[in-house]
Symmetry: C2
Subunit: 348 residues, 2 copies
């Protein structure tokens, strides 16, 4: 295993001082062309490039951003991470991942690791199902003393930080309005913990929207479902089997596209035809939405754009100390086939 060549090796071999080597590396114009050439030659010969640790130590920064999220294997967070990564890359920064698992708060270990590493900033991408907002705020507050902090979160976090959120009002309103236009009146919502106080803003917004449109908000239409396909299957089964057929909803809005996947599977298993017997709207507009049968209408929250903005703002915040920034990204309804519009469906 080779030992890495250092600036001293280069300086010695080129017969100059380390300062000159640094100048050449940094493309400092105050170097005679002859020296520059000689030094560059030695540099090339050894494929020398300065040690990151040494640079970081001396400079006091790491040119690295941290992103803290529950799990990268979750498609939503995967998209956020990916977008953040490229944006960081574009600005000469690297991005280091920290996963919290379901445990949404940022553990003290992560906090101290972030400080230890002299991160240039943290992007916290929490999820809508977060609970321990107290712990989270404490952690973010502490981090804020050392580096710029940005959050892509539901709108609970009232911290002095770069705060980016989805437009959950529209995220709830769009599907309900769409279904209402199509003549649906009995609309169910599956996912999240509907009746828990501080979770599932999306569900709450959904309920408000129902009331605003004078639609029935029968509690039987709001089932606590999880966030994945299996939960979707179970939830829809639980909901429908507790209801007389004539009281069944005619449309189901799900917490996300995965739940929708489960719901669709279960409905087909029960012998229903989609979208004839039930309209479905998911959320997140995942890549597979166009390939379900029927193709799934979904709400796009544009996580990529949010991540991009977050990273951009974090990098700006490094320079200027004024770092308050807030943004709400509008949601978009992507209409496909799962409500039957393409067939001209309209409930009476």
């Amino acid at each position: 295993m080779n030992k890495k060549t250092t600036i001293y090796d280069i300086a010695r071999e080129a017969g100059v001082s380390t300062a000159t080597v640094t100048r050449v590396v940094r493309k400092d114009p105050h170097v005679k062309e002859a020296t520059r050439l000689k030094v560059q030659q030695v540099i090339d010969a050894h494929a020398y490039s300065p040690s990151i640790s040494a640079q970081n130590l001396e400079g006091g920064r790491s040119r690295t951003l941290a992103i803290v999220l529950p799990v990268i294997s979750n498609l939503y967070f995967n998209r956020i991470f990916d977008a953040a990564w490229w944006e960081a890359e574009k600005n000469g920064c690297s991005l280091r991942l920290f996963q919290t698992m379901e445990n949404q708060a940022i553990s003290p270990e992560i906090v101290s690791e972030l400080i230890r590493c002299r991160m240039d900033g943290v992007l916290f991408a929490g999820s809508i199902w977060s609970e321990d907002r107290g712990d989270l705020n404490t952690a973010l507050e502490k981090l804020g003393k050392y580096m710029p902090v940005a959050t892509i979160c539901p709108p609970d976090v009232s911290l002095d930080c770069i705060c980016i959120q989805s437009d959950l009002v529209n995220c709830s309103r769009l599907p309900v309005r769409h279904l209402h236009t199509l003549g649906h009146r009995r609309i169910a919502f599956l996912g999240g913990s509907m009746h828990s106080k501080d979770t599932s803003r999306r569900g709450v917004g959904f309920l408000e929207q129902l009331r605003m449109m004078d639609l029935p908000d029968d509690p039987a239409y709001h089932v606590d479902a999880g966030y994945d396909m299996e939960s979707g299957e179970r939830a829809v089964l639980r909901m429908l089997s507790g209801l007389d057929r004539n009281r069944w909803p005619t449309a189901i809005v799900t917490f996300n596209d995965l739940v929708a996947l489960g719901v669709m599977k279960q409905l087909k298993k029960m012998g229903l035809t989609l979208p004839e017997d039930m309209a479905i709207i998911g959320c997140d507009n995942q890549f597979f939405c166009a390939y379900t049968d029927p193709a799934l209408t979904s709400v796009d929250l544009h996580p990529e754009e949010m991540a991009q903005s977050a990273v951009r703002e974090l990098l700006l915040a490094r320079e200027s100390s004024s770092r308050s920034f807030a943004m709400v990204r509008e949601a978009t309804l992507i209409v496909r086939e799962s409500c039957g519009v393409h067939l001209g469906f309209r409930k009476l």
Copy 2:
């Protein structure tokens, strides 16, 4: 923005030398209990923890592994990354991502960055559609001089490194055998570049398997498809529209599950009923396979396990300099509904 407390601050405030602080932090037993307590108190008061850069500089290592892959948003690589991340984490290491895009070779920039960072090891997860094996090998060879290297790749790379690969023989054999057992004789393969020399080992293995079983390997059954859903749609349309109905294959094996998704959509659009009119087998056993309609039979290559082993071996290789390790992970066929077995289908 707080300045980070250093070991000097702690030493001064506790009235000891920095060496003692280090001892306390490192839980060195050669410290009087009274001093230990006093120092610990100051440490806690300031939430002090040693700077990573300084530690890395002094120690000459980074406790960081690098993973180089095409794109993290690709589900296959996402799974590899995720598994590698947790395995690294479990061993007190962090994992830094490098994305190469379609450009499969490791750019010189990435190579030098890896050396600059004194990575403890690199895991290269290439894809089956890699081309520039020459460049790649050069890069890996160079890296090998500085750190342990592991690859999760098709079996081209003949380098002195930790070499982990999928069992592409079985990956091709399993679906063909399965279909053969079900009575299929005209089996098509969609995906990869079938007739290119150095790509798509999977397709090549597939062809060999067909011949071994005395099944027709009509060139019309092997269409160059891409690696995503759109390509799948187009490819199957191209293949079938060029063929008399009675020469249509009765089963299609695809390069991966995404292609399968596209194929299924296109077939339905053409009015076929699945799995009655066409059997389909995908590859990768992605999460959505159980939720397509019909549920997609697929081959699992167990990327997670490969990633885990790779990381484990990389970490071992840090210590012992003997670092040759090879492993081939068997593939597994996950039977679902897309070949109709659950309905007792059997071609005659």
